[in-house]
């Protein structure tokens, strides 16, 4: 049952960081949208999936490869998010939060159904960029350059997001609006536009993660289903109110998942949920959550 092999464990933990990047980026988006809009974005996994499919589409139909996709896809996915926020989601802010959740769930089903109709149910291949092929020998494992790039890019993106929210005037307004939207509005800040842009930015992050995932995971209409549930668990574990907490929790859980895969692989798909249960029982507000 237990198989202790230090090289294997270290290797899986490094690979786990790649998943950790996706968990961190997705839960960051979920947490920001939840904090400001009061909506659990059930469609977040679908935007992640769309990121991968738009990248695939750009390559197939326009010959645009990975690097242009990395810039274009978040813009396209973010724009779609903005359209959906304006057309649909914003009509529900004055209602109970439940309805926002149900609406984004409906969006998720409809978008996934649409993608299945257009691209079919099976996974599609997306090749990795030529300049990131190959691997580096770390002594205990061969780390593919591409996965190393995902970790580095993910860390940079997460900390850039953290910087914008915690250290800039824009972020200060965002945080203020999370606490008290009416007061912020009274100061002459256009809160509705801020909500729209926040939703767009949140799903753009998911789209970016989707492009990065495309060469690793198979580009598949259901690729976002499980990962969004993990992102929710990460938000519950990390607790609201701390961007840095969400990032660290995402990375930590990815690494823990890799570790579990190395020593007891049957538990690797459930370990994150087990951690969630332990955290809820011992510290219900989450690891980094504010009191109250």
């Amino acid at each position: 049952m237990f198989d202790i092999n230090v090289n294997l464990i270290l290797g899986q933990m490094v690979l786990g960081m790649v998943n950790g990047v996706f968990y961190a980026i997705l839960s960051l988006g979920v947490a920001i949208i939840f904090g400001l809009l009061g909506v659990i974005n059930f469609a977040h996994g679908v935007f992640f999936m769309l990121g991968a499919f738009v990248a695939y589409g750009l390559l197939q139909f326009f010959g645009l490869g990975y690097w242009p996709a990395l810039i274009l896809v978040p813009m396209i996915v973010g724009a779609l998010g903005i359209v959906l926020e304006v057309l649909l989601i914003r009509h529900l802010y004055r209602l109970e939060h439940l309805y926002g959740l149900l609406l984004t769930l409906g969006m998720a089903l409809a978008i996934e159904g649409f993608v299945r109709i257009v691209f079919g149910p099976q996974g599609l291949p997306y090749s990795m960029p030529d300049n990131l092929r190959g691997a580096v020998n770390l002594g205990f494992m061969f780390l593919p350059y591409y996965r190393a790039w995902v970790v580095v890019a993910g860390v940079i993106l997460c900390f850039a997001t953290w910087y914008v929210i915690e250290q800039t005037p824009l972020g200060a307004k965002l945080r203020a609006a999370t606490d008290n939207p009416k007061l912020v509005q009274a100061f002459g800040i256009n809160v509705p536009v801020m909500l729209t842009l926040t939703y767009g930015a949140g799903v753009a992050l998911a789209g970016f993660a989707g492009v990065m995932a495309a060469p690793i995971l198979s580009v598949d209409p259901s690729m976002g289903t499980n990962i969004v549930i993990i992102a929710f668990a990460v938000v519950v574990i990390g607790g609201m109110g701390s961007i840095l907490g969400a990032i660290l929790t995402g990375f930590g859980l990815g690494i823990l998942e890799g570790f579990t895969k190395a020593i007891y692989s049957e538990a690797s798909s459930t370990v994150i949920f087990v951690v969630m249960v332990i955290v809820l029982v011992t510290r219900p507000r989450g690891l980094f959550g504010k009191v109250g």
């Binding site: 009061g38 769930l105 409906g106 089903l109 409809a110 996934e112 929710f232 519950v236």
Partner: protein, 328 residues
């Protein structure tokens, strides 16, 4: 569940006359449903009807929680899936008769509900939904890997057995009437729970948990009890389904099953009794007719979801109830 647009309806005014515990309008609806159960098998394929009945019970259980307690669970697939598996296991491996196998599935789901509830009630609102969803996903992975569930193949060859050791359930007519009567009884029972003093407290918690607490009610305990009852009734529905079709599969425990019951409840009417009935008939019919078109079903379900949330969030029976000014 207070909706700013909709007029509130007093669900249990003490002066109203009750028939079998139903208010007059609801009693009329109940009689109509009895007629449907009695006559429908002449025109509709009975196995389709029995499938609908299972989802009616499932939706009643879900509505008890969402509509009458105000708790948004996204983990009911876990109770539905595990209830079915355990009922099937009890019938096939332990050779238990129908009643005890169904009881096994019901109790298993109820105990799971107790544990899920104990964990999830630590947080409220949207967190509650996220936690129940994550717990259910954990159970899904356990079911996927465990040997006893049959993994991707599902648990097959679940025997039907006999009812009370006498009525042979492999006879489709006896099976149909057994399921039909149990479904009608479930409608009756949930209506009774909603109108009991316990149900009144649940509604008070839904409307204003802080006030309920200040009145001296142990809000968390009531929530936990409601969650457990809902889970047990879900396990009951799943057990019947396992017996009817002789199989329990991973699709019962998949997150889509939770989505399905939410959709049934939303379309029928959150916080109504007969919304579960109407919703289950509509959504399962829709699934039946769209099944040949594969992914179009998903797209249509998503659009129906959005449509009801945006323009008709009271649901069909909820809308009817507002119009008639009578609880249904």
């Amino acid at each position: 569940m207070s909706d700013t647009n909709a007029p509130r309806i007093a669900v249990g005014s003490p002066k109203a006359r009750h028939i079998l515990g139903f208010e007059p309008a609801r009693f009329v609806a109940f009689v109509l449903f009895v007629a449907v159960v009695a006559l429908a098998p002449m025109v509709v394929y009975p196995y389709f009807l029995m499938r609908v009945y299972c989802f009616i019970i499932f939706a009643l259980a879900y509505n008890l929680l969402l509509g009458f307690t105000g708790l948004m669970s996204f983990g009911h697939a876990a109770f539905f899936g595990m209830g079915g598996y355990l009922c099937g296991w009890a019938a096939r491996e332990w050779g238990l008769p129908f009643e005890l196998a169904v009881l096994t599935g019901t109790v298993t789901a109820g105990l799971m509900g107790l544990v899920f509830g104990w964990i999830a009630i630590r947080r409220t609102g949207l967190y509650f939904a996220m936690i129940t969803l994550a717990l259910a996903q954990m159970v899904y992975f356990v079911a996927l890997q465990a040997d006893f569930t049959g993994g991707e193949n599902g648990m097959q060859r679940i025997p039907r057995g006999t009812l009370l050791g006498f009525f042979d359930l492999s006879d489709p007519t006896i099976l149909y009437w057994t399921i039909g009567v149990l479904t009608l009884f479930s409608v009756y029972a949930v209506n009774r729970i909603v109108h009991s003093p316990f149900g009144q407290v649940l509604r008070a918690i839904r409307e204003n948990p802080v006030r309920a607490k200040s009145l001296g009610y142990n809000v968390d305990r009531y929530k936990l009890l409601s969650f457990t009852i809902s889970a047990a009734l879900t396990g009951f529905a799943a057990s019947l389904k396992a017996v009817i079709f002789g199989i329990s599969t991973l699709s019962d425990i998949d997150v889509m099953t939770s989505t399905e019951v939410v959709l049934i409840t939303l379309v029928g009417g959150i916080g109504t009794i007969f919304g579960s009935v109407v919703g289950a008939f509509l959504i399962l019919s829709m699934e039946h007719f769209l099944a040949p078109y594969g992914p179009w079903l998903l797209l249509v379900e998503g659009v129906v979801f959005m449509l009801f949330v945006l323009v008709f969030r009271r649901g069909i029976v909820g809308g009817l109830q507002d119009w008639l000014k009578r609880p249904l």
